[in-house]
């Protein structure tokens, strides 16, 4: 079995309570960090670990921490990003539901490392049950002296609060999240200045994903070098992958980075293949924003090498034949799924979630949704396909935040890899409203099957 650093004790009854969590070695990282390490040493361990942001961008966490400005007499903040709204991603919800103290422990260590005395965990508003779970865990930790004034007699003070959002995908973008936490609309800010210089209330701020903060706990317990030994190349450590779609066993899996993609989909320890005896048609490997890949390109690179679940291997081939690890929101599509319908569904999502600040995204996402809708419902023209590519190119790179890119990539990649399915929706418009295209030649050659 692969090593588990975050979910090792997930099946222990009562692990969501302080006492059981503590009996399994919980809060040892807080004791070690606050009593034996300096903040600089903690940052150094995180740098050595090679931990990369688990929210999707994959930026090295230690480096992000080292950018934090430390002007005299100015408060610094750590804000945990639990907005988790990327379609396909549900790993943070799982972690917070079942082992909330791991996040609290990570928040204490990380806040100490960054010199923050007030920290916030921002959760999407729909996660009210998780907010209640975390608030209970915080109260327990506080009662045991791990939060509040003079933690463990070290003189370090920390208050930790949970903040609900209001239901907006855009608040997963860190500057939009900060705006939301300040009680405003979630409009992303123009960078620079980056949050490390001017973040929450204009103060230096670090925003980290839930899983990144949780990973700090094993890094401090075992040391950054030990953590870096797990994984492959610059993809160190373990990663939570939330797998959904047409799988036999969907769910949240902690994998060692570098696991083969084939093993993840078909292995007994993981998803166990495609449900209902069907075949894999396509995969979205890291949340709805990353390029969709046909089964053959997901399992093997164009150089015929086995694809691995790592930052580098999944992006092998760039966007021409690769994708991204992203947030670990894994979606599998079986042979009966319609790529045009799925692309329309995603574009509706991005249109709905665009904050409206930048015209290319506000207008472009709506155009893409409309054009894809008419293709799906049999009113499309062949020229619509290139029109979609054109619109997606005009959004990409032309917006303040990456939502524009996130909206453009799924459309561009679906057309890149599944163009004949789009064309079939135009040339066989009536048939396309009565059945799906089937697996065709995307996995291996097979005549179109009836849905």
């Amino acid at each position: 079995m692969a090593r588990k650093l975050l979910l090792e004790h997930i099946n222990v009854p009562g692990i969501n309570t302080f006492d059981v969590y503590r009996s399994k070695g919980g809060y040892a990282a807080v004791e070690k960090a606050l009593k034996t390490l300096t903040p600089e040493e903690i940052v150094e361990e995180v740098k050595k670990s090679g931990l990369r942001g688990r929210g999707g961008a994959g930026f090295p966490t230690g480096m992000k921490w080292s950018f934090l400005a430390k002007p005299e007499g100015v408060s610094r903040y750590l804000v945990c990003n639990g907005d988790e709204s990327e379609p396909g991603t549900f790993k943070d919800r799982f972690l917070m539901t079942h082992i909330p103290h791991l996040l609290i422990e990570g928040m204490i260590v990380s806040s100490f490392a960054l010199g923050a005395n007030t920290s916030y965990i921002y959760l999407r508003g729909e996660m009210m049950p998780q907010i209640r779970i975390l608030e209970k865990a915080i109260a327990e930790a506080k009662a045991k002296g791990f939060l509040g004034k003079n933690i463990l007699g070290t003189g370090y003070d920390l208050e930790l609060y949970v903040q609900p959002g209001g239901g907006a995908y855009i608040c997963g973008e860190e500057t939009a999240l900060l705006e939301s936490l300040e009680g405003k609309r979630g409009n992303p800010r123009i960078k620079p200045p980056f949050p490390a210089i001017a973040g929450l209330y204009g103060c230096p701020t670090v925003v980290n994903n839930v899983e990144s903060i949780a990973a700090v706990v094993p890094i401090i317990n075992d040391g950054g070098e030990e953590y870096a030994k797990i994984g492959i190349g610059r993809s160190t450590g373990t990663k939570l992958i939330s797998a959904g779609g047409n799988l036999k066993r969907p769910g949240v899996y902690e994998i060692e980075l570098g696991l083969s993609a084939e093993e993840f989909v078909y292995g007994d320890d993981y998803c166990r293949g495609i449900a209902n005896g069907k075949r894999l048609k396509a995969v979205v490997a890291g949340g709805s924003s990353v390029p969709i890949l046909p089964a053959n390109l997901f399992l093997k690179t164009v150089n015929n090498e086995a694809r691995l679940m790592s930052y580098e291997s999944l992006s092998d081939g760039g966007f021409v034949s690769g994708t991204m690890l992203g947030s670990g929101g894994f979606i599998a599509y079986d042979e009966d799924q319609c790529i045009v319908r799925n692309t329309w569904n995603f574009s509706r999502f991005y249109h709905h979630e665009s904050c409206g600040q930048c015209s290319p995204c506000r207008e472009g996402t709506g155009w893409m949704e409309k054009v894809l809708h008419r293709l799906e419902y049999g009113h499309g023209k062949l020229s619509d396909i290139d029109l979609l590519v054109d619109v997606s190119k005009k959004i990409e790179g032309n917006t303040i935040c990456p939502l524009g890119d996130a909206a453009a990539w799924p459309v561009a990649s679906a057309i890149r890899h599944f163009r004949d399915e789009f064309e079939w929706h135009v040339t066989n418009a009536h048939e396309a409203t009565t059945r799906n295209y089937g697996i065709a030649n995307y996995a291996d050659p097979l005549n179109a099957v009836v849905a």
Binding site: G125, E126, P164, I331
Partner: protein, 174 residues
């Protein structure tokens, strides 16, 4: 919980609700009480079932901010209801991963069973439903949530939806 509120009458919050507001405000530095806006709007909605303009005006007064600062936030975020809803608002995830495991048939079934269109309220005032975007429960789809507790109902089938609606009706009539 009041389901309908006279929108012309100013809203006065109960001392219990105001105590909850004060607890939220205490989480932020002095002068940054506007940060409490989203949590307070959730509290208001849990109390009244929706957020009316007079309620928003009272929130603005409580936080010493302009009414427009409350309106723009309440209208930006999808969780706040700007008109009365049924006592139980069934919010069904309609995004990609839920869609490919059958979100659309679930919504069609709910529409047929309740006999109201998306966003409308049943005659008895008990139910509304709508499709919402990804709820971060993609491995357990199709999924729906019901506020203000935001309880999740996962791996939905038409049978489990029928049972849920039946249970909620029984609960409301007791």
């Amino acid at each position: 919980m009041l389901s309908v509120q006279d929108t012309n009458t100013p809203v006065t919050f109960s001392p219990e609700l105001k105590a909850k507001f004060a607890d939220v405000v205490s989480r932020y530095p002095a002068g940054k009480q506007k940060s409490a806006l989203l949590p307070i709007l959730h509290l208001v909605q849990a109390e009244y079932g929706w957020v009316s303009a007079p309620a928003m005006d009272s929130v603005a007064e409580y936080l010493s901010i302009q009414s427009i600062e409350v309106y723009e936030v309440a209208s930006f975020y999808t969780m706040y209801f700007l008109k009365p809803q049924g006592k139980y608002m069934l919010e069904v995830c309609r995004t990609g991963p839920c869609e490919i495991v059958g979100a659309t048939p679930i919504m069609e079934h709910i529409e047929k069973t309740l006999g109201v269109k998306e966003g409308d309220v049943t005659a008895d005032g008990l139910f509304s439903w709508r499709g919402v975007e990804c709820l971060a429960a993609c491995g357990y789809g199709p999924v729906l949530q019901i506020g203000p507790e935001y309880t999740f109902y996962e791996n939905l089938t038409t049978d489990s939806v029928d049972k849920l609606i039946g249970d909620l009706k029984a609960k409301a009539n007791n």
